[in-house]
Amino acid sequence: MAETIVSTERLTKTFGGRTAVDAVGLTVRRGEVYGFLGPNGAGKTTTLRMLLGLVRPTAGTALVHGLAPGDPRAVARTGSLVEGPGFYPYLSGRENLRVLARFQGLPDADADRALERVDLTGRGRDPARSYSLGMKQRLGVAAALLGDPDLLVLDEPTNGLDPAGMADMRALLVDVAAGGQTVLLSSHLLAEVQEVCDRVGIIDAGRLLVEGTVAELRGSTEIRLRAVPADRALAVAMAVAGDDAVRVEGTELRLAAPAGRVPELARALVAAGVDIAALHTVERSLEEIFFDLTTAPREEVPA
């Protein structure tokens, strides 16, 4: 069992009468890239702020490095970029990192190394206010990397980046994860999460809807078949995959069966004199799961 680095239990935050985060229980294990996925306004940032000790929970508990969030010992081992980078605009990128290095009691060389890691050394002497959005975001990641923290909390790190910047950021995240650092990454971009994350938690309207590995969430594959005559094809498909595993979608049959059953199905169809027009397998994308979950009518859960 992998060691847990972040865990929350019924973590809740209300602002006035509005519940921003509602009884969220999530678990991030050491060394993994955890994707915290949800539409804008779902409560991702508020949850991350609570984990960093910037916002006090209304109810529930959270542990970060086994400590209360905001405990200086936990904060010291956590690098973060929450809701856009916050820098002194009049200082250069390098100088900003050197100021942060002083907060952490680190030498200037560590700041320079962080700057190099995000490929900003060439612009390090320019004032941070002159940076493009993408450069500011990279400087924010450099600040989060400063001091080699065990845990990186990154809130929408690709927000506002152009496609090339997003690709660079993803490569950086993969690189960071390969180095053994745990990454808690929030995003509303499904492709991003699918590509870099080991495990995913999906949040909507303050509720954590599901948590699991990307593979678990995608579930099993589906075989899709178009063939004539349809009634005979349906009979063959039910014989191969089982009566309950087949459903009809328009002119298409969908079989809940692993991809390995495709040759068997094809042979049976041909043997029964069925003409196959199309036969292929699909994996549900995270996007489909996401929309299934976030657009489904919410059940009323008794308190």
């Binding site: 060691e3 910037l54 200086p72 904060v75 010291a76 809701e83 916050g86 002194y88 942060l100 907060f103």
Partner: protein, 290 residues
């Protein structure tokens, strides 16, 4: 994966924060604009205008001499050092405190600072220590400017350029530090309360330059109000300046009062400083950072 060792960060957290905050405050152009503004105002209002009127008065004949030269000499530096601080110096240092803290909300840098390792209290402690160092520097620069200018005046006028007594100068320095420190802490508190640079500076200036003066103006008309207005931050600071030898109304500097005795004025000023600091720490510890 092996358990990671917690690398103990070297040094006391608030000392680390103070080094960081001092670095960013000293590299902030606003700091130097405000220091320069205060130095220029102090030079002009304490020395240049009085010297000009002394010289024009003397040229018109001995009977016309309205300003005496004594106040412009090095020996008088302890008396005049604090005279501009209750209002002008205070307003400028209040702006510095309010901008240094309020801008952090606009830039998002508090969020960054609070997630670096030193706790919130240590980070604010670092900010306060850094501002204290800047204020101590401002008072020191003022002493230097005053000594240099008064020595020039003494030489030009051919009168004694004897330096002031060290004890008097030290007492005036401490008084100046207390007055400016109190206003600076007030600026920090307003910056935290308003979470922004603009409103905090506006409110702070309205209070120091307008509200207290208006209240003092109506204090005579309402029984009992004088007892309150005499103990407000500006009045306490003004009384402290007055007790240290600055010329009150009539003689010159606005804001210099004799409403309270020296020790009472020092106690009230120190009390406000303490209240502002305590309230700031409580706010930073308790409030969500959104």
């Amino acid at each position: 994966m092996t358990a990671t060792l917690v690398r103990p960060a070297p040094g006391v957290p608030s000392a680390r924060a103070a080094r960081a905050e001092l670095r960013r405050i000293l590299r902030w152009p606003v700091t130097w604009v405000l220091v320069g503004l205060w130095s220029a105002l102090n030079l002009i209002f304490t020395y240049v205008f009085d010297w000009i009127s002394y010289r024009t008065g003397r040229a018109a004949g001995p009977a016309e001499a309205g300003v005496r030269v004594d106040g412009l000499l090095p020996a008088a530096v302890p008396d005049v050092l604090v005279q501009g601080m209750p209002i002008f110096g205070g307003a400028i240092v209040l702006m510095l405190g309010a901008l240094a803290v309020g801008s952090g909300y606009a830039w998002g840098t508090w969020k960054t600072a609070f997630t670096q390792g030193p706790g919130r209290t240590a980070v604010l402690g670092g900010t306060l220590l850094a501002l204290l160092a800047v204020v101590a520097g401002i008072v020191l620069v003022t002493v230097g400017v005053d000594l240099a200018m008064s020595t020039v005046i003494a030489r030009v006028e051919g009168v004694s350029a004897a330096p002031p007594g060290a004890a008097d100068l030290a007492r005036a320095y401490a008084g100046g530090l207390l007055v400016l420190g109190m206003w600076g802490a007030g600026g920090v508190l307003i910056g935290l309360l308003t979470r922004g640079p603009a409103l905090s500076v506006g409110l702070g200036l309205v209070w120091t330059l307008v509200v207290e003066n208006l209240l003092r103006g109506v204090a005579g008309a309402l029984p009992g109000l004088a007892a309150v207005t005499d103990r407000m931050p500006g009045s306490a600071a003004g009384s402290l300046a007055g007790a240290l030898g600055a010329d009150g109304p009539g003689g010159g500097a606005p804001g210099v009062l004799d409403a309270l005795s020296g020790p009472a004025a020092a106690a009230w000023t120190a009390g406000y400083l303490l209240v502002f600091l305590t309230a700031s720490v409580l706010l930073v510890r308790r409030r969500d950072l959104l």
